[in-house]
Symmetry: C2
DNA sequence: TTGAAAGCGCTAACAT
DNA sequence: ATGTTAGCGCTTTCAA
C-alpha cells in the first residue's frame, strides 16, 4: 500500500483537532455529530480548527465505535443487462442517490447474478457490512428476506411477490399506482370516444404488468367495452412491434391501444406506421412509464408518468427513517399522472 | 438502532473464535488473512471454530487497524440516464462486479450529476473513504484527477480526454481498440466487394467515436475508395434512423454502411427498410459494440465485439493490482473482434 | 510458529 | 456544557 509512505501532511485526527481547538476529543466529537450540547464559542473554535486542518472523520473508526456502518446496500438481483438497460432502473437509482446525497450514508452496489444463488450477497448482507438494504427488481419476491438478519431493514422497489416470508413481518416497499395509472390511461382513450381499445400488456410474472392489465380490464368493463383485443409483449421494443403486428392481424378494426410500457409502445407505433395507420387519427396510443422513450422520437407519446426518480427518493427516505428508528408505513404507493401528448 | 437489542446470538468476534479454538487472537487473525506462518493443525482448529461459530470479520475494525477501507468507488460522472440506459455501461459494471466478487472489496456507487460540480464526490474520494476508484464515462477527462489525493489509485474506463493533469502522471485506463475495430469492420465491407461505403459516426466529443471514424477513413483511403458518404449520429436509435435517412437522400447509390454503434445501426436499418432496400443484398451494414441490439431483432447484425464485460473485469483487475502495490501498465487496449452475422 | 501488548480513530457513558 | 475513561474488533510489531 503506497499510501502509507510519503511526506504529505497526514489527514488530521479528531485528537489533533481537539488539541488545536484547546478542547477535549469528546467535544470535537459532539461538534462533528451536531450535538446541541455545545456552547457557541466552543463550537466556533472547533469548527475553525476543523476547517484549518481540513479534518475529515475516519469512517472506519466511527463505524467501529458507533456500531453502525453508515452504508446501505443496493441489491439488484437480476442480470445487469435487464436492469441497467431499463430506464426505470436508471431513474430509481438516480432517486436513491439523490436522497442519499444529503445523508451520511454511502451506497454499496450488489449485483447478484440471477444464475448463481447469490449466497454471497446474502452473507454480505448478514455480515453486518451495511445498516440496511434496498432491493430493486421487477421479479424478486420477499423470500429474499428469509435467512437474513431480521433486524436488517430492507426496502423493496416495486411490490415484491408475496412469498414464504413470515406474514407477521410484511415487507417494506414503494411502488407506483400501476392499477390507477392503467385506469387513467384507458379512461382517457374511452373519453376520446374510442370503443375498440386493445392492449399490449407485459409479462405475467411481473406484478406491475398484471396491475396494468387489470386496470385496463376494469375500465373496459365499466364502459361496457369488449376486452378481447390483447396481444402480450415482453417489455421490449421488439416485443411491442411483434404484439402490434399481431393485434393488427387479429383485430384490424382497433381504434386505440393501451400499451403497458413506452418502449413497447414505440414498437407498436412501428407496426402501425408500416400498416399505414395514422396516430392518433386512426389509432390512439397511450404508453406507460413516461420514460425517455415517450418524449423522444418524431411522435411524442401520451403516457402515464410514474414518477420513477421520486420513487427512488422515497425508497431511500423510507430506509433512512427506518434506520433512524422511526415508524414508517410498510407500503407506499405513489400516484401516477396522465401526460397527454401527441399519440392520444 | 433496533439491531443492538434482541436475544439473537450476537455475531462472534475474533476473540471468541480464538477462545473456542484455544489459540490467541493473533493466530486467528493470521488464519483469516491467509498468513503462511500457521501450522496445519492450528489452521484446521481455527477454521473449524470459524465455521462452527459462523464468524465473519468486522469490516470497520479491520479497516481501522489495517488502515485501508476495502472499498472502491465506482464514479459515474454523467447523467444516470445516459449511462444506465447504455448497454456498454451495464456490461462494464457487470465486469467490474464480477472481478470484485472474488476479492474483499466492495463497490461504492458515486453518481455525480453532470450539472453540479460534483465537489461532494471529490471530497468523498479525498476523504479516505475508499482505497481506489474506477471512473466510467464516455466524456470525462483526466482533469477529474486534479485536486485528488495523488496516492489514490484511479482507473478510467475508456480513454480519458487528455486534460490539465500533470503529464508526468499519466492516467490508468482500459479501452477497446476502437481504431482497429473500425478498420476490421470497414475492411470486411471492402472485402465483400462494396465500393460505395458510407459511415454513420458518433458525436465528435467522444474519443471512441472519433477513433471509429478514423478507422473507417484509413481503410477507405487504403482501398482507394471515396470517403464523403458521412452522416453523423448521436449514438441513439433515432439518431441512427435520421442519419440513415440523410445518407439515403444524399447518397442513394451507397452499397454499404459502417455504423459506429449497434443501436444506431438498428435505426439505419429502419431507414433502409422503409426505402425498400434489402440488407445485405442491396446495402451491407456493420455495427459496433456487439450489444444486445446486435443480436436481437429480425435481422442479426454483423458487428464489432468490443468485449465490454471483459473490459470491466480488466478495469477492476488493474485497480486491484495497483492496490496490491504491483506495477501495472498505464494503458490497456483490448482487441476487438469482427462478428459476422446476417447484415454484412 | 505462536502469543502479548499496543494501538487504529472514534463514540458514549459517566462524572463533573 | 465539558472532560475522563473505556472500549468498538481487529492488525501488527515485538518477544518468546
Amino acid at each position: 500500500m503506497s499510501r502509507a509512505e510519503g511526506t504529505v501532511p497526514a489527514r488530521p485526527t479528531l485528537e489533533e483537532v481537539a488539541a488545536a481547538a484547546g478542547v477535549s476529543r469528546a467535544t470535537v466529537s459532539r461538534v462533528v455529530n451536531g450535538s446541541p450540547k455545545v456552547s457557541p464559542q466552543v463550537l466556533d473554535a472547533v469548527n475553525a480548527a476543523i476547517d484549518r486542518l481540513g479534518y475529515v472523520p475516519n469512517r472506519a473508526a466511527r463505524s467501529l465505535a458507533a456500531r453502525h456502518t453508515m452504508a446501505i446496500a443496493l441489491v439488484v438481483p437480476e442480470d445487469a443487462h435487464r436492469v441497467f438497460g431499463d430506464p426505470y432502473f436508471a431513474d430509481v437509482v438516480q432517486g436513491i442517490s439523490d436522497r442519499l446525497d444529503d445523508s451520511e450514508y454511502v451506497l454499496n452496489l450488489q449485483l447478484t447474478h440471477p444464475s448463481s444463488p447469490s449466497e454471497k450477497t446474502r452473507s454480505y448482507l448478514r455480515g453486518g457490512n451495511v445498516d440496511g438494504a434496498i432491493v430493486v427488481s421487477h421479479h424478486t419476491g420477499d423470500h429474499f428476506l428469509t435467512g437474513l438478519d431480521p433486524d436488517l431493514p430492507v426496502v423493496f422497489g416495486g411490490r415484491p411477490m408475496l412469498g414464504d416470508a413470515s406474514p407477521e413481518r410484511p415487507p417494506y416497499y414503494v411502488d407506483a399506482d400501476n392499477l390507477g395509472g392503467a385506469r387513467a390511461a384507458t379512461q382517457h382513450l374511452v373519453d376520446l370516444g374510442r370503443t375498440r381499445i386493445a392492449t399490449i400488456p407485459g409479462p405475467q410474472d411481473m406484478p406491475a404488468a398484471l396491475d396494468r392489465e387489470a386496470g385496463w380490464r376494469e375500465v373496459m368493463a365499466a364502459a361496457g367495452l369488449p376486452d378481447h383485443r390483447v396481444a402480450r409483449g415482453d417489455f421490449t421494443l421488439a416485443g411491442g412491434l411483434r404484439a402490434g403486428l399481431q393485434l393488427l392481424r387479429e383485430h384490424p378494426d382497433l381504434d386505440a391501444i393501451f400499451v403497458a410500457s413506452d418502449l413497447m409502445a414505440r414498437g407498436a407505433l412501428l407496426a402501425l406506421e408500416q400498416a399505414g395507420l395514422r396516430v392518433p387519427q386512426d389509432v390512439a396510443v397511450v404508453g406507460f412509464d413516461n420514460s425517455l422513450h415517450a418524449a423522444q422520437g418524431d411522435l411524442r407519446l401520451t403516457t402515464i408518468d410514474q414518477h420513477t426518480v421520486e420513487m427512488g427518493q422515497v425508497m431511500a427516505d423510507k430506509l433512512l427513517r427506518l434506520l433512524a428508528g422511526e415508524e414508517v408505513e410498510h407500503q407506499t404507493v405513489l400516484a401516477t399522472t396522465l401526460v397527454v401528448r401527441e399519440s392520444a
